[in-house]
């Protein structure tokens, strides 16, 4: 191969969920390359296989055929240098906020003392200082999702996977978190795969937007977003931004699945 080796390299990925009733072709012939430090958004109607793609990359779902290569090695089980944020914050109600953030490193067998200070610093960075000993059910939705971002970041992963993390939040909180995520990426240059329903969110955050369609789940287009970084929220009022949104929305209108946002 002559092209430079990419950080995430997906070739000919097929994923079929087999069940007694029917086989579901969740992903069909997926080709995707993600370079280091890229921020990739995946956009598509619900049920088109976005979460499945994320789980295949994360080593959480076995692939049916093709290859998924992360940093040169085939993904067989969840790699260490990866953090995941799920759609619902899935915090553990029986642990306080600090212990929730420490959960992943605890499972990996790390010493608590090695990470406790880091966890506190992260929480502080996300505006959660003073909440360390509160429990998840005492926090608002936005705060809970911030905690789950902290949990994913604690072990300083190179690759950050987010599966519609802000879908359940109100518009204001969503804007806040979009800004924080943009700032985080600007500072750390982690490689990010971000799944979303919202066209505006995808354009605002990403260097590239991957558009998927369903039945079977496949990639329709990969669009480079050439807006300068760092981006402020008012970039959304520029004509360039509008053109990207327009273009992407066209995708879904022709597909017959009009997306708002």
């Amino acid at each position: 191969m002559t092209q430079p080796r990419s950080y995430v390299h997906v070739r000919n990925l097929d994923k079929v969920y087999r069940s007694k009733q029917a086989d579901i072709e969740a992903l069909k012939s997926i080709h995707l390359d993600i370079q280091e430090h890229e921020f990739i958004s995946v956009l598509g109607p619900s049920g088109c296989g976005k979460s499945t793609l994320l789980k295949c990359l994360a080593g959480l779902e076995p692939i049916t055929s093709g290859e998924v290569i992360l940093n040169g090695a085939p993904v067989k089980s969840p790699p260490d240098n990866m953090g995941i944020v799920f759609q619902r914050d899935i915090l553990l109600d029986w642990r306080n906020i600090l212990n929730n953030v420490l959960f992943i490193t605890e499972i990996r067998g790390a010493k608590r003392t090695d990470y406790e200070d880091k966890a506190r610093t992260l929480l502080k960075r996300f505006g959660l200082e003073g909440f360390e000993h509160k429990h998840p059910w005492e926090l608002s939705g936005g705060m809970r999702q911030r905690v789950s971002i902290c949990r994913a970041l604690l072990d300083n992963p190179e690759l950050l996977l987010l599966d519609e993390p802000f879908g359940a939040l109100d518009a204001m909180t969503r804007d806040d978190l979009n800004l924080e995520l943009a700032r985080l990426w600007q500072e750390t240059k982690k490689t990010v795969l971000f799944i979303t329903h919202s066209i505006a969110e995808a354009v605002f955050l990403s260097t590239k937007v991957v558009v998927m369609s369903s039945n079977p789940g496949k990639i329709d287009e990969i669009l480079d977003i050439e807006l300068p970084h760092p981006r402020a929220l008012n970039v959304r009022e520029t004509p360039e931004f509008g053109e990207y949104v327009q273009h992407l929305r066209g995708h879904f209108t022709t597909l017959g699945v009009l997306q708002e946002g």
């Binding site: 789980k55 994360a58 959480l60 089980s77 969840p78 990866m82 995941i84 799920f86 759609q87 619902r88 899935i90 553990l92 109600d93 029986w94 959960f103 992943i104 490193t105 499972i107 990996r108 429990h135 998840p136 059910w137």
Partner: protein, 258 residues
Amino acid sequence: MGWLEKNNRLLSSMIVLIVCVILWEIACHILQVRPFILPAPSAILIEMIEDPNYFIKHAGYTLMTTLAGFALAVVLGVLMAVGIVHSVFLDRTLYTLLVALNSVPKVALAPLFVIWMGTGSEPKIAIALMIAIFSIVIDTVLGLRSVDKDMIDMARSARATTMQVLFKIRFPCALASMFAGMKVGISFALIGAIVGEFVAGETGLGHVILLSQGMFDTARAFVAIVILGIMGTILFYTVEAVERILLPWHTSQRVNTQ
């Protein structure tokens, strides 16, 4: 507001209870009901005060067999549930069998336990165990299974072992459902203990009721029944109190939604 409402509820049910007891007392006197048919509450109270040690001894015995049966049901039931959740074989055999047997009136088996285990406390504990275990197993299996798949994926993303998933995710998640099963189970354990005492033996409140029946000493039977009622209520609320302490997130949500 929740506190006031809850205590209002307690208060109003106490008032209804007291009114009923007073009506009962008055009815017994006005209608001249013969004491061996229905003793007046005052007669029941006198019966209880006359020989408290007798009742304490028998109540203690019933309490011990109930608690022993219940504790064994919890330990065995949870172990079985863990097995069922982790093994397709146990799920197909044991669990299917348990669910089918759940609808059988298990009380009918009580006499057999006396044949197998004699007339000591063993058959009573065994009957209490048998009756209590069903709801505990079924609700624990339900709880262990209904864990959010994303939550398990989150743990798996750190390559959690099956044991880590079980103890750090599944069990805490299942606790709410387990407690629902245990609250049913504790009441059933008490029923099991009484049935055991009905069938054989010389001790326990069940035995007291049977003995009083033979001697038409209805007041004494009523004392035993009242103690059983109080015991059952206290046992139930004890389990609920433990739940409240262990699962503040669950109980706090329940108060909010009520």
